[in-house]
Subunit: 369 residues, 2 copies
């Protein structure tokens, strides 16, 4: 396969950036040349130790053809690096290399890299340009799209951040071949969530094509990621700064997912927790009369039979997990805005989900899995 | 005098916030009530130790009538507090007090407080609302208007920051009566700069009314600050994120001013350096054939005869000061965009100001003062 497809993302009717799909990095050359057409701009490629060892040289080679100066900043892989210290060290690097307001950052990696690099770009000199080159499924379908950037602070995830749009998202699907299976399956949590909240046809296509996805067929991956991006495109274009209700719909599966993730001290992956949260939220949707037993069972089977969900220890403290939902930063004062499904493909916001509703869903999940 | 006047500031045609002028804090009550009409929001008043001792109690009393919870965060006064550590401690305070996305920060103080508090508001939970209650002339006419926020990083001023608009700027002119004279005169540097770049009539009014300003007459202060704000309003509305040329005009006097400020290790105040920079930039404007000798002399006398400018030590290294202009973050690559006056009231951007032009201006200033 050799292809190039793109999807424009707009803000208030004006195109801000493209998501470009390819099976290699060569297309970056065109973008670099156009970015640097006028002046001798500088580029800093930001990546973690693991991704840098795989792809840094390839990107450096392409970038050096266009930029007057190309530098790299590599930090230790893992969520532990997503903090203000990593950001500060990147500021220092940029200062030392005399980066100014028209120079460019490139985030090469998964969600940690994109969020941290994007936040640095948002705040260095009150904001410089950056582009996203995601290398994980989670980053392809979620974290690289929509302009949310940030880092963890103390024990809180994404507590410090900013909305800052990238100038380009360049998805090289071939990077998914080097992603470990657990990370890939974790990304599928967000994929299925995207279909569940907005697009029943897409949901049915995932079901029908699950084998191709698991085998990382190029066509399946392109189709799946593209459709996820279309769902996210519509939501973020409607509500770019999460000030209206629309963007909250993306949090389907996340209220209980985040609480579980935190309770498990991040030993489960984000997408794994989202997958489990999606199943539990389907149970609650059924309890509220919004989904049929058949639909709930269908969702449960699709997620749990194909993506190796981690086992929740039998002795977890469900009360404590549910209590964590009240500290989630998406909580608005005391009221939790819980996302449910009013039929597959139609997410809605509800404020009538009680602690007891959540506990029941948790218990049902524990009994069934 | 008892008055209330206001000036709306817009972004892309939509009003974002008002600058409200008063001679007391009572008008905050109306704003607090309207902000908190729907829900039990929280307010955090952020101030330095000096300003807090003067005004914190008064604001607390008014705020407690409207907000369910009012807390305060006081940090040591001075530019040394304008850093990421102060921001981090404020994050921790907000987390401990369970501040969420709809709660409010209030910056009570001068430029350090407004910039630091505004940056925290820009980045806590990817952005929460804040209001500015400036208590210095510099903050009234410059730092509180226009949405620039930030902190110093390592030895670099405002190296880390974000554009984040306040929801209200509430100017209580009576706070200027407690400002020390040196700080007040420093603020006048930005006042005269505002007139010089955009409004010759305003410049002539300052000259004619200089006595009233020095005596802090209420009417003179209101008129002067209001007119400065109108100049800044037009510039920031035209170029909110400093991406076009227009906003650069506000940097008149700042290229050499910043360099001097840095060379003097911040022992001179910002506005003092801007005043000196305005005089030097007038010399350069004359050397480029843009101002007459009479105009330059007029500017020089107005600034240096009335506002106690600090003496530059005779042994300063002018080469080094000029070299600092190349590290200024407003430098775009290698080219310095220098703001000159093409007549009083008409600032323009020039890229043909050489190091030698700057050195000559510096020498002329040293000889004359």
């Amino acid at each position: 396969m050799s292809f190039e497809r793109s999807l424009p993302i707009s803000f208030e009717g004006n195109k801000i950036y493209d998501i470009v799909y390819s099976d290699n990095f060569d297309g970056l050359d065109t973008y670099f040349k156009s970015y640097n057409a006028e002046n001798a701009r500088k580029l800093c490629i930001v990546s973690d130790s693991k991704v840098a060892s795989l792809y840094m040289d390839a990107i450096l080679d392409i970038a050096k053809k266009s930029f007057g100066k190309v530098v790299s900043y590599v930090f230790p892989e893992g969520e532990e690096s997503k903090n203000l210290d990593t950001v500060k060290n990147l500021y220092i690097k940029l200062i030392e290399e005399h980066f100014d307001r028209k120079d460019l950052l490139l985030a090469l990696g998964g969600g940690v890299t994109g969020d941290m690099c994007g936040y640095t770009a948002a705040t260095y000199l009150r904001g410089i340009n950056f582009i996203q080159v995601p290398t994980s499924l989670l980053a392809d379908v979620d974290s690289s799209i929509g302009g949310k950037t940030g880092v963890d602070f103390e024990q809180y995830k994404n507590m410090v951040g900013a909305f800052h749009m990238p100038r380009l998202v360049y998805i090289n699907l071939s990077t998914l071949k080097t992603l470990d299976t657990r990370q890939f399956y974790s990304g599928m949590g967000e994929v299925i969530k995207s279909a569940l909240i907005k697009d029943k046809d897409f949901y049915n296509e995932i079901k029908a094509g699950i084998k191709g996805i698991q085998e990382l067929s190029d066509e399946s991956l392109l189709d799946t990621i593209y459709k996820c991006n279309i769902v996210k495109k519509h939501v973020v274009e409607e509500d770019p700064h999460e000030t209206k209700g629309e963007r909250a719909l993306l949090n389907y599966g996340h209220t209980l997912g985040h609480a579980l993730e935190k309770y498990m001290n991040f030993s489960f992956l984000h997408g794994e927790c989202v997958s489990i949260g999606c199943i539990m939220a389907a149970y609650i949707s059924r309890d509220k009369g919004l989904l049929t037993d058949t639909e709930v069972s269908d969702i449960d089977v699709l997620i749990s039979d194909h993506f190796n969900l981690p086992s929740i220890p039998a002795d977890v403290n469900i009360d404590e997990i549910v209590s964590f939902t009240h500290n989630d930063k998406k909580a608005d004062g005391q009221t939790i805005k819980f996302i449910l499904l009013d039929g597959i493909g139609n997410a809605i916001i509800r404020t009538d989900v009680s602690d007891s509703d959540m506990k029941n869903a948790f218990l049902e999940y524990m009994n069934k899995h």
